[in-house]
Point group: D2
């Protein structure tokens, strides 16, 4: 699921933390979900749609499905880049796509998508506020 | 992907840990991958195929894909049951299926599958040793 | 800081999870804090002082200090036992003590204490309700 | 344990990750150990003493003790700065000091120390190689 041509995305780069490795001496597969999540957070900050503000307004994006494919392991001592984009945004749902790779040589570690539904604090499914739909629409003003 | 009729599975039940919750006051979605993994470990111990021994023999089951669906959140204070079974085992690959639910009332939290390939310590894909294929085959001697 | 003679304590035993290991192939040192916390939770459940109910009543035990000593590493494939007791409980503070060891051979992995203060939902320090002070007092009805 | 006058230290700043929060809606206390560890990693990279290389040379810095004090909680949506320095380095031991604070307003979240011993791959205590002792000595060429 590569980002389509002309598709806008956001990237963040950081070092693998030792805490994120496991006894195979690689990044544990669950931690890529935290990488994806931090990618979403950074993406939202970059387009002026800070997720912390979304929650303060009483909304949450609950994760409804994750699908990750693991192509090669990331190791302590290297950096990873998380490239993130919006695949699709609808009135109550949003889908993010990801590529996580080694910025030093381009080796792809993980690709995937996460699906989310908008809920209120008491867990009811609700519409994403219109201004947030616009911010998260697939062509924000990103390089 | 419910376990097929007559399919053998294994279950473990434990309390949600506070550490596993997040600011939505629910179990963070990444932690269900740790629950699935602990379910696989328990399954393997139950059928006499201790995964720690598998690694001591020089083999690893690397995760190649995960697909989880989140139906309702689990909370601190409750227990979760992980039901795990082998969907399919081939010469170099194995697929596990999962249901994670609240044993107090049967509420389903998460369903999913994880796909694995057998590798050696230097990361090369290899055949799963025959005796382990047999142990992990879909109808082990489990209730 | 071994439990004093005649001191009441609680123990829980569980398998190390693969997710908790790191690239040294041992349990990562941060995860023992999650073990201690689950020990506290189990202790509280055992004495009828469910911490989930404490929070529902509007109180929280915020961690104010941790001090752990690491004596030998725990590994995937083994179980750990968390022995937990109350060192001291005062009107606004409580101190828990811990020993984490391998139940198969008694090898001590970690000893330590965690200090907590009672706060309200808005973060103000407050008195621990009297009935909870009694439940957590150092000689509950535990073996 | 503030850094002594003229003491050299290193700082890294990053956003709190949602995964690191808990049901109290604050950063879970165990995760500050991961912040400290990433601070040590960054410190070592900054002085040309990459910890990944230390491990490749067959040495490990095992954690022997941690002592953290929690002064105020960090929240999702903010950044944290980890200030890290070497308190003391001896032939087989090294002690790191930390302050973790909010760079936006200087609020101190956590202060503490971690103690480490140098071990070989088979877990035996050994001397820290002399060139690494020099790199980690308390006045490296840091601002």
């Amino acid at each position: 699921m590569p980002p389509p041509p002309n598709h806008r995305f956001h990237e963040i780069t950081f070092y693998v933390r030792y805490f994120e490795t496991d006894a195979m001496r690689i990044v544990h597969h669950a931690n890529y979900l935290a990488y994806c999540e931090e990618g979403r957070s950074a993406y939202s900050r970059a387009i002026g749609a800070n997720y912390a503000d979304f929650e303060k307004a009483g909304f949450f994006l609950a994760v409804s499905e994750v699908n990750l494919r693991y192509l090669s392991p990331a190791l302590y001592g290297q950096q990873v880049t998380v490239r993130v984009w919006v695949e699709e945004v609808k009135s109550r749902r949003i889908v993010f796509g990801y590529e996580i790779f080694n910025p030093a040589d381009g080796t792809m570690h993980v690709t995937g998508v996460t699906r989310h539904i908008c809920i209120t604090q008491d867990g009811k499914v609700t519409r994403i506020p219109e201004d947030w739909v616009e911010r998260w629409s697939p062509n924000p003003n990103l390089s």
